[in-house]
Symmetry: C2
C-alpha cells in the first residue's frame, strides 16, 4: 500500500483564527518558546500498489483542485510517504 | 526564525467523515488512483531563534496536550522544519 501526503496551509496574508487561538493558549499552558502558530490540513491518500509518477501527478492535481482552496490556501507539499510506518 | 511542524491524524479506528467525503469526491473528479483518504491537521509553530532540543521537547509536550485530542487523534510527527523554505 502506497501513501501520498498532501500538506495544505492558509496563505501568509490570510488571517488564521485557529492558529491564533493555539498561539494564545500555548503560553497560558507554560509553552513559552513559540512566537506564532499557523494551522493547516494534512491529507493521507492511500494507493493500492506503488506510488508511481502518474499517481503523484494525480495527487498534485487533486491537491490544487479539491484538497485546497487556492484563494486562501497554499499546497505546501505533495510527498510520497509510502516508506513511513503506521 | 526556526519552525517546528506538528502533524496530527485521526486514529485508525476513528471514523473520519471529512476524509470519507474527499475519498468519495476524488473519483467523481476523475482521480481514480486512490483507495482511501484520511484528513488530519498540520501545525506550524514559529520559533524566535533556533529549534533547540528544549524547544522540540516543548513542542512534543504541546502536541499531546494542546494540539491533539489523545482520545481520537495520534501525533504522527513533530519535526524541525527550519530548513524548509516559505
Amino acid at each position: 500500500m502506497g501513501r501520498v501526503v498532501v500538506d495544505v496551509m492558509p496563505k501568509p496574508e490570510i488571517l488564521d483564527p485557529q492558529g491564533k487561538a493555539v498561539a494564545g493558549a500555548l503560553p497560558r499552558l507554560g509553552f513559552d518558546g513559540f512566537v506564532s502558530v499557523r494551522q493547516g490540513k494534512r491529507f493521507e491518500l492511500e494507493v493500492d500498489g506503488d506510488v508511481t509518477p502518474e499517481i503523484l501527478a494525480q495527487a498534485r492535481e487533486a491537491a490544487v483542485t479539491l484538497l485546497s482552496n487556492p484563494v486562501i490556501e497554499d499546497v505546501v507539499a505533495v510527498t510520497d510517504a509510502s516508506g513511513e510506518g503506521q
